[in-house]
Amino acid sequence: MILRVSDRACVISRSVRLKSTLTSFFDEMGKGIIIKSASTGIFENLALEDWIHDHVDLQNRNILLLWRNSPAVVIGRHQNPWQECNLPLMRRLGIPLARRRSGGGTVFHDIGNINMTFFTSKKKYNRHRNLTVVTNALKELRPNLDVNSTDRFDILLNGHYKISGTAAKLGRTAAYHHCTLLCSVDRSLLSSVLKSNNSQVIKSNATPSVPSPVKNLLDLDPSLDTDTVMEAIASQYKKEFGFATPVITVDPTHESLMPGVHKMTQDVLTWEWVYGKTPKFSVCTSLVVDGVNITLDMDIKNGKVDRCDIGIPDGWLPLEIVNEFTSKLNGSRCCPRETAVLVAAFIRTNSLAADIAEKIHRLCEGVTSVM
C-alpha cells in the first residue's frame, strides 16, 4: 500500500509538470511577466488570451501580453456584426471577422496596430493604471506627446484623435483588460470596413460602437513604429509593476505547452460563436428588385432566420412560390452563401418557368444584400 502511495505521487507530479509546463516556467519568472505572441492569427491570439485567463494563476502575478494581427475585424462579445462592419467588403477582401469574449466596441486590426492584454487577479483589476503604463511609455519616447486616457478608457492624441480603445473581461478569480494602439494602421481600410451599409435597417439591442476620428502615431512621428512602441510599453510595464525579467515569445499553437489551446482556437473560429452569438435583431427594409418594391422583414435569432416576411406587389410572383421561398429561409443561417445554395436548390427542384426563376434570383440577391 505504501509502495502504491508513492507510485501515485510520482504519477501526479508528472502530470502536474505536464500540465503546468508553461505555468511552471512562469513560476521561475516571478511576479511579473511580459509575453509576446509569435502568431499574427486573430483566432490563435484570442485563444491564447483565453488560455492564459483560464489556466494561469493570476492571484499574485501580473502578465502583459503583446500581440499583433494580420488584417481582421474584431467585434465585442455582445455586438452585431451586420450592424458594425461591412461584411460584403470583408468577404471580398478576405478579411476575417472575429468575436472576442470581452465587451466593448468593434475594432480593426492590422499589423500596424498593437494589442496589449493586462492580466491581473480580479481584486487588482485597474484599467486606469494599465492605461497610464501606455501613456507614460509614449511620453518617454516623445516627451511632448499629448496623449491622455479618458474616463471612457480611450486614449486620445492631441485631445481629439482616438488612438486606443479598451475592453475587459472579468471571470471568477481573474480579469483581463485589453486595448489597441494605432501606430501605422491602414486608415482608409479601417474606415471602409467599419462602416456597415445596413445599420439603418437593423433594429437591435446589441452594444453599439461609438465611432471616433482616429490617427496613427506614425503620422505624428515616423520613429513611433510598432516595434519601438512595444519595447517602450514593455519597459514601462516593468517599471510600474516592479520586475525585470525579459520578454518571452510564445507560440499560441503549441499544444503541449498549453494543453487545450487548440480547442480554444477552434471554439473561437466557429460560425456559431462569431455570428451565432449575436443578440436577436430584426431587419426591416424595402428593396428595389427588378424594378418593383419589395418589403423585407426578418427576425434573426442566434444568427439564424427566425421569421421572414416578404411583401411583393400583386401578381409579380405566385403567392405560393413566395411562401415556399420564405419557409425555405426559416431556420437557415443569415449567410449569403447558405442562402444562395438553398435558393439554387429551390429553383432546381421546383422546375420553375424561366421568368419566375429569374425573379427568384433577383429576390434572393435582394435578401442576401442585407446579410
Binding site: S20, Q59, G105, N126
Partner: protein, 486 residues
C-alpha cells in the same frame, strides 16, 4: 516470524486505509472496483450527483446576489443566461454574462444545486447587491454567505502536495463514467477545460497516449484546398480562415443524433428529386496522351495571361462541341415528363467540393467561349467558391454537368443527374498505363475513365454512346477540335 509481523502491520494499515476511504466515500451511489478506492479518492470526493434519480434537492433555497464588479460599478446589463430554471449547476459553473462599460463579466455559481428562479430578462439592468438567481442547494449550508465572493483558489496549481489535499477534480458525470469504463484515475488526467476541468477529450487523449493510437481532432496547419475540380493544385488565394480538419471518428460507445444542417437539407431535397429520374450508366476510357502534351505546351502561355490552365477547360469545351451534335443531352424535361425543352445555351456545371459540402456552379454559354475563356471563368468560380461567395446566378441555370471526382481519386463512378438536367459525366483520375499502339508496341499512355449517367426516359444508350465517342475523339486528338471550333 518477522514476515508475519510485517504482514500484520500491512493488514492494519490496509484496514485503516479502507476505513478512511470509506468515510470519504459515504456519498457514492454504487460500488466500484476496489483499486479506484485508493489515493485518488480525496481528489474525487465529489457528490456523484448525476446519478440521483430526481432533480429534487433537499436543501434550502438561497438567493445568490450579484457581487461587486469593482471600479465602483453599481449596475450592469444582463446579456446572456447560461442556465434556465430547473437546471442543475455545480459550484463554479457559469450562470450568466453581464456587461458594464466595455467590460464583460462571467458570473459563476457559488453553490451546487438547482436553479429555481432567474430575476432578470436579457437586456435588463441588474443591480449590484440584488438577487440574481435563486438556487436550491443539495444540503443545508449553515450561515452560507449569499454573495459570489471573489475567492482565491484553495490551491495554487504549482504545488503538487496541496493539489492532492484540497482540490476538487472537476468533471461531469458522463466524463467520470468514461474514465471508469477505461480504468482511468481522474487524478492522472490533465484537465484542459475551464478551471482545469477534465473534459471528455482529455480522457480520450490520455487513452490515445497510452495505447499509442492516433489522437483525434488533429488540426492541420495548412488549410486544405477548398476546391478540387482540376488535376493540378490551384493557386487560388489561400483562405484566411483555415477550414476545419475532417474529424476522425472517435469511439465513445454512444450514438449521437443531431438535425441536418442547411447544406445537408439541400442535398436531401436535390437527391430526392433526382431519384425520380430513371438513370442508365455508360462508361468509357479516354486516352489523353495528346491532350497532356498540348496542355503542357499551353500552360506557360496561359500563365503569362494570369490564368491557371487545367484539363477541365478542354473537357468542358469538348462536351459543348459534342452537345452541338446531340442537343437532346442539353435538354430539360418538365415535371410530368410531357414536354422536352432543348436549351440553346450550354451552361456546363462543375461539381465543386467545399468544406461545407457539394456546390455546382456552372459556366454559362460555353458554346460561345474559347478554351481560354472557360479557363478564366473556372478561375473566377473557384475563387468565389473558396471565399464562400458564389451567388444564385452562378449556382443555377445549368444544363449539363461534369464532375471531376478524379482530382480526389477514383476511376469509375455512378453520378446522379441534377434535375432539371438529363445527363451528367464523372471523370476519374488520369492514370499512366501501358497501352498497345497500332504498331503492336507497348507505350506509355495517359488514361482517364469517364462514367456518364443519363435520363433513360428521353435519352437512349446509342445517343449517349455516340456523344461519348465524339467527346473522346476531340480529347484524344485535340487538333480535331480546331476544325469544329465555332
Amino acid at each position: 516470524m518477522r514476515d508475519v509481523g510485517n504482514q500484520t502491520t500491512l493488514a492494519q494499515l490496509v484496514t485503516l486505509w479502507i476505513f478512511v476511504v470509506s468515510q470519504r466515500c459515504h456519498r457514492h451511489q454504487w460500488t466500484e472496483p476496489a483499486h479506484v478506492f485508493d489515493f485518488s479518492t480525496p481528489l474525487t470526493s465529489v457528490q456523484w450527483r448525476g446519478f440521483r434519480s430526481s432533480q429534487v434537492a433537499s436543501g434550502q433555497v438561497l438567493q445568490f446576489k450579484l457581487s461587486d464588479i469593482g471600479e465602483g460599478i453599481m449596475e450592469v446589463t444582463v446579456k446572456e443566461w447560461y442556465v434556465k430554471e430547473g437546471d442543475r449547476v455545480s459550484q463554479f459553473d457559469s450562470i450568466c454574462e453581464v456587461q458594464s462599460d466595455k467590460a464583460s463579466v462571467t458570473i459563476t455559481s457559488r453553490y451546487d444545486g438547482v436553479i429555481r428562479k432567474l430575476y432578470y430578462d436579457i437586456e435588463s439592468i441588474a443591480h449590484v447587491g440584488s438577487p440574481l438567481v435563486d438556487i436550491e442547494t443539495d444540503r443545508e449550508l449553515e450561515g452560507a454567505p449569499e454573495e459570489d465572493v471573489v475567492e482565491t483558489p484553495a490551491v495554487s496549481h504549482e504545488q503538487p502536495l496541496q493539489e492532492i489535499k484540497g482540490q476538487k477534480t472537476q468533471a461531469t458525470p458522463a466524463v467520470r463514467r468514461l474514465a471508469i469504463e477505461n480504468n482511468i484515475k481522474l487524478s492522472e488526467i490533465v484537465g484542459t477545460g475551464k478551471d482545469s476541468r477534465i473534459l471528455k477529450e482529455d480522457i480520450l487523449n490520455f487513452i490515445a497516449k497510452q495505447t499509442g493510437a492516433i489522437l483525434p481532432y488533429e488540426v492541420q496547419k495548412t488549410p486544405a484546398p477548398a476546391v478540387s475540380t482540376t488535376d493540378t493544385p490551384s493557386k487560388e488565394k489561400k483562405p484566411v480562415m483555415a477550414p476545419p480538419a475532417i474529424p476522425r471518428p472517435i469511439f465513445t460507445g454512444k450514438d449521437r443524433t443531431e438535425p441536418l444542417n442547411g447544406f445537408q437539407k439541400v442535398m436531401v431535397k436535390t437527391m430526392s428529386a433526382a431519384l425520380k429520374i430513371p438513370h442508365f450508366g455508360y462508361c468509357d476510357e479516354v486516352d489523353l496522351t495528346e491532350l497532356v502534351r498540348l496542355r503542357s505546351e499551353l500552360k506557360g502561355l496561359a500563365e503569362s495571361r494570369g490564368i491557371k490552365l487545367s484539363y477541365m477547360p478542354f473537357f468542358i469545351k469538348g462536351a459543348s462541341l459534342g452537345l452541338l451534335q446531340f442537343p437532346v443531352l442539353n435538354a430539360s424535361v418538365d415535371e410530368g415528363c410531357q414536354n422536352i425543352t432543348h436549351k440553346a445555351s450550354h451552361n456546363i456545371g462543375l461539381a465543386m467540393d467545399t468544406p461545407q459540402g457539394l456546390l455546382v456552379p456552372n459556366v454559362k454559354s460555353v458554346q460561345s467561349l474559347s478554351v481560354f475563356d472557360i479557363a478564366v471563368e473556372l478561375n473566377r468560380l473557384q475563387a468565389l467558391g473558396s471565399a464562400g461567395q458564389l451567388g444564385t446566378a452562378d449556382l443555377t441555370g445549368g444544363t449539363f454537368t461534369l464532375s471531376n471526382i478524379g482530382s480526389i481519386g477514383g476511376t469509375y463512378a455512378k453520378p446522379v443527374i441534377l434535375p432539371p438536367e438529363v445527363a451528367i459525366g464523372a471523370l476519374g483520375k488520369i492514370q499512366v498505363l501501358p497501352r498497345f499502339t497500332s504498331r503492336d508496341d507497348v507505350e506509355k499512355a495517359y488514361i482517364m475513365n469517364v462514367s456518364w449517367s443519363a435520363d433513360h426516359r428521353v435519352i437512349d444508350g446509342a445517343t449517349m454512346c455516340r456523344f461519348s465517342n465524339l467527346w473522346r475523339s476531340y480529347l484524344e486528338n485535340p487538333a480535331a477540335m480546331v476544325l469544329d471550333l465555332k
